[in-house]
């Protein structure tokens, strides 16, 4: 074995005499070891909304276009990005035509054609498949194969941003030949196919153990010469964020570790060892406080934290419905302290709910960058909230006493402790509550502790959107999206904040194609949310990962898979 290897190396270097560097051979660098502390349960991206599954499958299955670490779109399996200018997008914005690169082979040797893309649409749009990426295929009338390498997607409405289907790691192309029998209700039963999908990417699956480890090897038929540099890929799952960081930064057992939500001083201490590098990619994630506009009093029974209409005039929150209180709460927070204590280089002060892409970021809310306790106190005094003998402000018998909940995570509990102290300085009493993440984010309609039910005054978590277009994200805070009993708390509007002016902007945006107008609208919506303090943004968070100093290539990516450029990774 070893002899054949040596022989093949000798042979290949002999062949390489002609001038191509020896270092350009596929598989020259041996094994690449990745550690994801959440283990993937399937390799089928359409049957799991989890980031870990999307990441794992992204090294095998590819989309037509992909985002880089700056959020810029690059043609991947397509020849170019279709635009109105190059004729790829129709003038009325109702169709987009992609041209697939010729000569791309699936790892089983067959050729990638437009039929695969059409099939992928049929697979994901079938109601019984349970496709978790179906929102990437919204408003599609049909997907047609114009010829063997041209796909046209026809939309029912004008799509100012037609780049959802077949773009990014949420909506890649699967092979028709392999999944033909797995459409609809049979999708979940095709375990063999779901665990070993055939792809066009730089690696192919050799062995998949659900919730444990995946072994990949280099795809011999990968379209780029000499890539990937690694002959095999070990994708290890499980553990916790701290030990994952340690295995890269301190012991160097692994080459790459993903999503390291660990206190900055712990990471810094590990990085001192000098065996690895920490990277933070900034996307759209913002850690924010959600302000409850409805009354969460348990005595209200079914109407607890329930939006009863009237633009928050019915069942209003006893004190958070007061603009002065919300503004004072925001002013009292020193966000720099929160960044330094909990995030370090992986966080920036956040004053907007829409912080990125840069063209959409508003600068109208920079008041939040500096803490102003005097001003906050002044506002509350002026609004008639008077300090009682216990130092807590009250008005008409209503005390400023806040129940503040979030998920269990030591960084979040640190933030809670700081904010409690900061609010104490303006005469606000805070009771902290932390809930297990699996319950808080679990979405069980029977549990009173979910973030959707919001049986508290303030709650804190991070939200973001993938891709680069904010339209659907900003539509989260329209009245229609209010999380309530009627939609089994499925709406995205947790603050239960309802404003017809905002709804009008959202509707306008869905009909506007011009980029400058869309930017103006997105900023206006962001400013409306921020200036009414429907949410209090705290920290613009980066995704943190670490890679070993023996390899080169990881860039981090908040817009697409962290492994988007894994074909380019190599040993130093």
């Amino acid at each position: 074995m070893r002899n054949t290897l040596l022989f093949s190396i000798a042979l290949s270097s002999a062949v390489a005499l002609a001038g191509t560097a020896w270092a350009a051979d596929r598989g020259r660098d041996g094994e690449l070891r990745l550690l994801y502390w959440q283990a993937p349960s399937t390799m089928m991206p359409f049957l799991s909304g989890g980031t870990k599954e999307l990441e794992a499958s992204s090294v095998v299955i590819e989309p037509l276009a992909r985002y880089d670490n700056d959020g810029k779109m690059h043609a991947w399996l397509a020849e170019e990005i279709p635009t109105v200018a190059n004729g790829g997008v129709a003038e009325d914005l109702k169709s987009i035509t992609w041209k697939i690169k010729r000569g791309i082979k699936w790892s089983d040797g067959s050729e990638l054609t437009s039929a695969d893309a059409v099939f992928t649409y049929e697979y994901c749009s079938h109601p019984d498949t349970g496709c978790t990426s179906s929102n990437y295929f919204n408003d599609i009338v049909s997907v047609d194969a114009v010829d063997s390498h041209t796909v046209r997607i026809n939309f029912s409405v004008a799509k100012p941003f037609p780049y959802a289907p077949f773009v990014g790691y949420n909506a890649p192309i699967i092979q028709k030949a392999q999944f033909d029998g797995c459409i609809g209700a049979k999708a979940q039963e095709c375990t063999e196919q779901n665990f070993n999908p055939i792809g066009t990417g730089p690696f192919k699956v050799v062995d998949f153990k659900p919730n444990d480890v995946i072994v990949f090897e280099a795809n011999e038929l990968y379209r780029e010469e000499g890539k990937p540099a690694f002959s095999s890929l070990l994708f290890k799952g499980g553990g916790d964020a701290t030990s994952a960081a340690r295995s890269v930064l301190e012991t160097s057992e692994m080459h790459y570790a993903w999503n390291l939500q660990v206190e900055p001083e712990i990471l810094a201490k590990m990085a001192e060892v000098g065996k690895g590098t920490i990277i933070a990619g900034f996307g759209t994630s913002v850690e924010r406080l959600m302000v409850n506009f409805t009354n969460p009093d348990p005595n209200l029974g079914d109407d607890r934290a329930e939006y009863l209409g009237g633009n928050n005039n019915r069942n209003p929150h006893p004190f958070l419905s007061d603009y002065a209180v919300r503004r004072a709460l925001s002013l009292a927070i020193d966000r720099q302290i929160l960044v330094d204590a909990g995030y370090g280089s992986a966080g920036k002060i956040g004053c907007n709910v829409l912080p990125a892409p840069a063209i959409y970021a508003s600068d109208a809310n920079d008041e939040c960058k500096t803490q102003n306790v005097d001003e906050a106190n002044h506002i509350l005094d002026h609004a008639g909230w008077v300090r009682g003998s216990d130092g807590v402000r009250a008005k008409n018998g209503v005390r400023l006493s806040i129940l503040y909940q979030t998920s269990t995570n030591s960084v979040r509990q640190g933030t809670q402790a700081f904010i409690k102290e900061m609010w104490k300085a303006i005469g606000v009493e805070t009771e902290l509550r932390n809930l297990s993440a699996s319950v808080f984010f679990g979405g069980d309609p029977a549990s009173p502790d979910t973030y959707q039910k919001f049986y508290a005054d303030i709650e804190m978590y991070t939200n973001n959107f993938s891709g680069t277009d904010p339209e659907t994200y900003m539509a989260n805070w329209t009245c229609k999206q209010v999380s309530r009993r009627a939609n089994t708390w499925g709406g995205g509007n947790m603050p239960r904040w309802c404003n017809p002016d905002y709804d009008a902007l959202s509707t306008e945006m869905s009909k506007t194609a011009d980029l400058d107008d869309r930017i103006r609208l997105a900023k206006a919506m962001n400013d409306m949310l921020m200036q009414d303090y429907a949410m209090i943004p705290l920290i613009h968070r980066g995704g943190v990962s670490a890679f070993s100093n023996v390899i080169e290539g990881p860039r981090g990516n908040e817009w697409d898979s962290e492994l988007w450029n894994i074909a380019d990774w190599h040993l130093k």
Binding site: I266, P298, S407, T408, Q416, E421, L432, S436, S447
Partner: protein, 300 residues
């Protein structure tokens, strides 16, 4: 027995117990350590004079120094102040929960062992409790009672009562089984039969003749119960079912500190040492008490 001794020296049962107890070196040390911990935890805070929830952002991750004898944590809390405040809660939870479990377990065990008709139903009840998965039970109870208790007693006392109650109610089963077994064997002994025959009432028999004889296993399970309650509380806090996150307990301090073991080792060492010392000293006290309370061992 020598009748002369009885005439010259007046000895009560409890002086005998104390004499025997003093002979157990480990138990004496245990009493000393446990008393020290209790005094430190309840007398310490006014002497140290630092609010456990005060945050000093500039003093984060400090090593031990004069102002902060055990250093500070990553958000600037004084570790000593947190240790003392956490100790009050942990000890209170441990002792009260163990007491509830002890009383419930003994009551059910004695009833099951002594009253024939209750034996079956009570032991099946014990089996039911043993087979209940603890965590879902806690989840449901906390969902049902948290808001009511919070409204009635405030967030901290409400949760304290809930946690103590829940731990107590879910950890009496082993005590009950052990007690029942001992009661069953002791109630057939001659001295119990003798007591019956002279017309002693049943509750007198239980308190005068049976309980003193089964005190040792009860003591042992009670001391184990204290340790168990402290640990269970910390697990609950971690799951977000326990006390509010700004309410320190030893278990929570230990859990929060583990990631910082390289930066501020004192955050892990002290809560660990104190949990271990408490559990050990209580165990030794229990051991000593068992020897001292056992009439067959006493006086040897």
């Amino acid at each position: 027995m020598d009748s002369a001794v009885i005439e010259t020296e007046h000895r009560s049962m409890w002086t005998d117990v104390w004499r025997q107890f003093r002979k157990h070196k480990g138990a004496l040390v245990g009493v000393f350590v446990f008393a020290f911990i209790i005094i430190a935890v309840f007398v310490g805070p006014p002497i140290h004079g630092v609010d456990p929830n005060a945050i000093d952002f500039k003093a984060r991750n400090l090593s031990p120094e004069w102002a902060h004898p055990l250093g500070t944590d990553n958000i600037g809390h004084d570790t000593l102040a947190q240790m003392l405040a956490g100790g009050q809660v942990s000890l209170a939870v441990g002792l009260s929960a163990a007491l509830i479990a002890l009383i419930l377990g003994t009551l059910i065990g004695v009833l099951a062992g002594f009253v024939k008709s209750l034996n079956g139903p009570l032991m099946r009840l014990t089996d039911v409790f043993l087979s209940l998965p603890l965590l879902p039970l806690l989840l449901v109870s906390i969902m049902l009672f948290r808001d009511t208790l919070r409204a009635a007693f405030g967030p901290e006392t409400g949760i304290f009562l809930l946690i103590v109650g829940l731990i107590g109610v879910t950890s009496w089963m082993h005590t009950a089984r052990i007690v029942r077994g001992d009661v069953l064997s002791i109630k057939e002994r001659e001295f119990v039969t003798a007591a019956h025959s002279i017309g002693t009432r049943r509750h007198r028999i239980v308190f005068r003749h049976i309980l003193p004889n089964i005190l040792s296993p009860i003591m042992v399970s009670a001391t184990l119960g204290i340790a168990n309650a402290i640990i269970t509380e910390s697990a609950l806090s971690f799951l977000g079912l326990g006390f509010p996150p700004d309410f320190p307990t030893w278990g929570r301090l230990l859990y929060d500190g583990t990631n910082f073991i390289q930066i501020t080792p004192s955050r892990v060492i002290w809560p660990g040492v104190f949990i271990a010392l408490t559990v050990l000293s209580v165990n030794y006290i229990g051991d000593g008490l068992r020897d001292a309370l056992d009439p067959r061992l006493r006086g040897r």
